[in-house]
């Protein structure tokens, strides 16, 4: 399904407007642009290019990213903070399709490394070309393909069983019985 995203009529004013203008055509929709905050959706094919442009800007850093479980997939929100302007610009990319893939920006911005791993663990978004996609949040015994932060995961009903207690091998059998 293709939806023609029209550029909304929000005027690109102030510092946030300047930042969004510098990203040019990569911005497909501006949702909010005021003195302190900006929210915009960017072209998923140009995620890395946008990240390169952002981190090269003076005073910009990646504050963090948020994954949101939405109807069409996982919405990945990169929050870029600017100092000393005190502005936070949130750039959204939708990880859509059956494999929920989106390009990783961790090779360009090391600050994205952990948070992308977290989003992969908790929501199941897949980050292409991530340098180190090991588990960060979930225990190694957690089953594959179960994502605890998704909307359809019930905290009580869907909770996987705890791994069996491992008794150290050097404990003699009679003591094991006592436990």
């Amino acid at each position: 399904m293709t939806v023609a995203l029209s550029k909304t009529e929000i005027p690109l004013t102030g510092f946030v407007g300047q930042v969004l203008q510098r990203l040019g055509e990569a911005v497909v929709e501006v949702e909010k642009c005021d003195r302190r905050r900006g929210f915009a959706r960017i072209d998923p094919a140009r995620t890395v290019e946008v990240a390169e442009k952002m981190i090269a800007m003076e005073g910009c850093r990646l504050a963090t990213a948020t994954g949101v479980d939405v109807r069409d997939g996982i919405d990945v929100l990169y929050h870029w903070a600017f100092e000393p302007q005190g502005v936070v610009v949130t750039l959204k990319v939708l990880a859509a399709g059956p494999d929920l893939q989106v390009e990783s920006i961790a090779n360009v911005v090391p600050a994205a490394n952990w948070i992308e791993r977290e989003m992969h663990d908790l929501l199941g978004a897949n980050f292409r070309n991530h340098p180190d996609m090991r588990r960060l949040i979930l225990d190694d015994s957690w089953p594959e393909g179960v994502y605890p932060l998704r909307k359809d995961f019930d905290q009580v009903a869907d909770r996987p069983p705890l791994p069996p207690n491992q008794t150290p091998p050097d404990v003699p059998p009679e003591k094991r019985q006592a436990e």
Partner: protein
Amino acid sequence: MSHRTCINIGPFHPLQEEAEFFQLYVEGETVVDMDMRTSYNHRGIEKIDESKTFDQVPFVVERVCGICSASHPLAYIQAVEEIAHVQVPERALYLRTIVNELERIHSHMLWVGLAGHFLGYNTVFMWAWKYREPIMEALEIATGSRVNYANCKIGGVRRDMTEDLLKQIDKACADLVGPLDMLTKAVLDDPILHARLKTVGVLTPQAAKLYGALGPTARGSGLPIDVRRDDPYAAYDRVDWDVCTAPDGDVFGKAVVRLLECFEAVKIIRQCVKDMPGGEIDAKVEHIPPGEGVGHVEAPRGETFHYVRADGSNRPVRHKVRAPSFNNIPTFKASCIGHKIPDVAIILASVDPCYSCTERMCTAVDADTKKPMYDFAEMVRLSREKTEKMRKEW
């Protein structure tokens, strides 16, 4: 090529007594690579918040961390206030500032003490924790608790402070300046600490930016970033204070920043007490409209970042919590490599990592009857009695 060995620190840190796991790859005594893992105590607070109402969430998020338990709720509340366009009364802004700065003093003093302890300099540990205690008492008397202050709510604060109490807080801060000065000089002029901390664990400003380092970790590398000044919240734009930085990026620089920030915090609190406006302490908030908001607060360890999405119901659809240590811990990859193992112990402590492991509770069990000696209600009663007693005696 020399032989490479892996040294495990953790999963339970022997000094910080928290769950974290570092693997140092060493050649001889020199660390050549490292790997780390945290999240042994993940509590799924973001998921829990989705099932709480907007008013309940602050009580959950202040339990993210026992030390930053004023910063986390404030960041969340600011995000919600951004969605609902709430105008917070002036007096509430000043009251928020006081509690947040008291928290900063006690957190920095705690770190200075621990850093001394890590280096085997236990005098610093005892001094710092001794002078931190009056601040903890001030917090308990003002909010009713040493941790988890339950001070803020959407639209304002939950408790007012009397004229008398404000004077007492002012006095506690004024009395702190002398000992703090002594402690600062003792730390900054000590030749042994210079030898142990200078040029150790240097984090360059470039690396700090790329890793998204925050708070004293970034300011110790000469990056003058501080949410309190850059995106002012509470009453920080109404009082006079300075952002403290140190140029070198080493562990010493981070210690300098933290100590100087204690003086700034005292300055901020005393101005707030002096200029405290009258009036209401909260605004009435009836409905949280659909929308999304970002709130960030300069916690003692750096920026605490919260993102809230609302859909018009009484619960958040999504609440993202990012504590400062999440960004600061990965900087070890940039600051530890090339150092000797004994230096790495203090570098690993230099960002004041906080693993939010305060979710556990101990119960004292009677040895004979095997019954718990105190239940939850009993402990609440005892702690309230103690606070009341302190308030009378203060």
